[in-house]
Subunit: 382 residues, 2 copies
């Protein structure tokens, strides 16, 4: 096991009817800015639940955070928050709203160009405290201190231990109104967060492995009910908790990390507008095939424990496991090939060079994924 | 899944050579009281490592915390801490030292009889911040906010969210000097912490179940190396992290809890001086046999997933699983019968009535373990 530090002070409030606890989670003397997205929370009742619980608080609103949240939109929220002397933020939405809220928290007391925070890892002081009401299980942003923001065709991540949510309310019932596409994307996102921290070099971490496998197995087992039954509380609850656990630092403690699938996927999103979860489903199978020798020990364990594959040569078992994973992605409505998005071989060099401009170093757990390998991975995914 | 709240702000610093980070984990302006046990840390080098890292801090010392830490000893530490205007505590030891430190933290600014905190659940204010350097993987106290203290033949637990350690340093190398008995007790303690939160009524928690099973499997797999190889870093690391994860709130989130084995075990410790881990190994097999119908779903899952038991009737599989568990306890040197401790049927009524005096209500996940059932459980364990 590698040395590690684990720290996660976010208070999770999980279950039916928990949004009403908001009033007790935020001190009454705070001036709150509630941040949300395109307004779906006004249709599914979440907006009303939040307003009702906070009726005795001072509450301002900022709607309109988009998927792959934009710097320019967040800046408008910062201007409002500064003008109104806001001292607490409340994200009500999915990963995009929460990521934007983290950026707003970090940038509000930052002098200079706030884009330096993601682009130059600039230090910031006095971030605003914030909580979240999660509406879309997927990114894990509700229980970590990381954020990804977009500006033009740049999509950049940043993080800081001061950016953990103070609390996150997870009521599985709020997922009943999500579309099949949103649910499918969320299942894949949580799955790939897990593989980025599990399908890597084995450094003798049996407990972390079993937790990762537990998340993957739970996602696979619950997916059918999640996608096809609208109001099945139990499967939504198990999905929601699995997605949070996939990226709260726990399964990443003491293990080797990869994250190349995410880095390549970010470029597909930035250049071709492919949803985040969908970009991962395209990249991961090809990346695993490209690196199957390097990842052999864990891929064989993945084949056996997650998919129950026993017979055949090691290569056959690994290929079977990757096909099982592709079938799983497809079954939840998420394609695994670039052609679905009308991306051809001619488009690939632009993707590779955009990635190189954002991350000059090689990618992956062994820092051996260079431009040529990225191109090979993308070609496999055509 | 049941509604739950999860909150755990302890910073874990895990791995080789991490004790030297102490100097950065405690602000330099703090007056620290270092609290430890019988002096084993002076023989195994931990004392010197702590002193070296904190050479620029103001450091006082209080040694002599015993197993099943006594109220009277903790009071002496409180007197010293008050006299020296201590404002930070550092526990260096196992669960007993950490539990005593939590009591000292809670009681130092408490007016009146400090025993009211465990015995009457009295509220306290301004607990002192504290960190820990763990030397014995077992209790999980290094990453939770609970403590158990003893006074006379009373052994009582208490807890409060203000009593999480600020940090805990877990260096598996410090376990190299532990005795086989200490290691065996620790393995059993971590195992039973897990079963108290896992072998209970099924409320559809597949991820929590798999994490619990992952802890149990890891303890079983690593035990042989832990007990028989003195300096095997990897098995000690996996044991240490499993013991912490067994009682940090995570596997207990959203599930049904039992804890009757602990409550009965505490009386065996208080009245007959049986080590905590050893008391659990005596009670748990008999308790599971007594309640096998009520716990059937989880016991069958335990049989299959933890012990690989497939054939036979449900009753046969459950009995096989309990025998496997007893064999495991015995293999790590921990007996499963009261006769080893020369406790006979004549001693049982006193144990039952002592338990009743401490906890008048029925015990267990279904609150159906009354005095008669406690007696039957203990008779099975003779």
């Amino acid at each position: 096991m590698n040395n590690f530090e684990f720290y996660n002070p976010t208070q999770i409030v999980f279950g039916k009817g928990q949004i009403e606890k908001l009033k007790d989670l935020i001190p009454t003397d705070k001036k709150i800015l509630m941040i949300f997205g395109g307004g779906s929370i006004k249709n599914n009742g979440v907006y009303d639940q939040v307003k009702k619980s906070l009726m005795d608080h001072t509450l301002f609103e900022f709607g309109g955070i988009e998927s792959n949240p934009k710097y320019e939109t967040a800046i408008k929220a910062i201007e409002l928050a500064r003008a109104e002397k806001i001292d607490y933020l409340l994200a009500v939405g999915g990963g995009s709203v929460i990521d934007a809220t983290k950026f707003i928290s970090a940038a509000i007391n930052f002098d200079g160009d706030a884009w330096d925070i993601p682009s130059k890892n600039a230090t910031f002081e006095n971030p605003l405290p914030f909580g979240t009401v999660l509406t879309l299980p997927a990114t894990g942003s509700e229980m970590n201190c990381f954020s990804v923001m977009s500006k033009g065709s740049d999509k950049l991540g940043f993080g800081n231990p001061s950016l953990f949510p103070k609390f996150s309310i997870l009521d599985p019932q709020v997922t009943y109104t999500l579309s099949e596409k949103q649910l499918g994307n969320g299942l894949v996102d949580a799955f790939v967060h897990t593989t980025e921290q599990y399908l890597t070099k084995d450094v003798n971490t049996p407990l972390q492995d079993r937790i990762a496998e537990g998340i993957l197995q739970t996602l696979v087992e619950e997916a059918d009910k999640v996608i096809h039954i609208k109001e099945d509380y139990e499967s939504r609850a198990n999905f929601m908790w699995s997605a949070t656990m996939a990226l709260n630092g726990l399964i990443g403690s003491g293990v080797v990390h990869d994250w190349a699938t995410h880095m390549i996927g970010h470029e597909l999103t930035a250049l071709h507008g492919i949803d985040h979860g969908r970009s991962l489903a395209v990249v991961l199978p090809s990346l695993l095939r490209e690196l199957k020798e390097q990842k052999k020990v864990k891929l064989l364990q993945f084949a056996q424990r997650v998919w129950g594959i026993e017979g055949g040569t090691p290569d056959e078992r690994i290929e079977k496991a990757i096909v099982c994973m592709e079938d799983f992605f497809n079954k939840v409505g998420v394609p695994t090939k670039l052609k679905v998005y009308k991306i051809t071989e001619d488009d690939l060099p632009t993707i590779v060079s955009a990635l190189r401009s954002h991350i000059p170093a090689n990618l992956g757990e062994a820092q051996n994924i260079d431009q040529d390998m990225v191109l090979r991975i993308l070609k496999r995914a055509l």
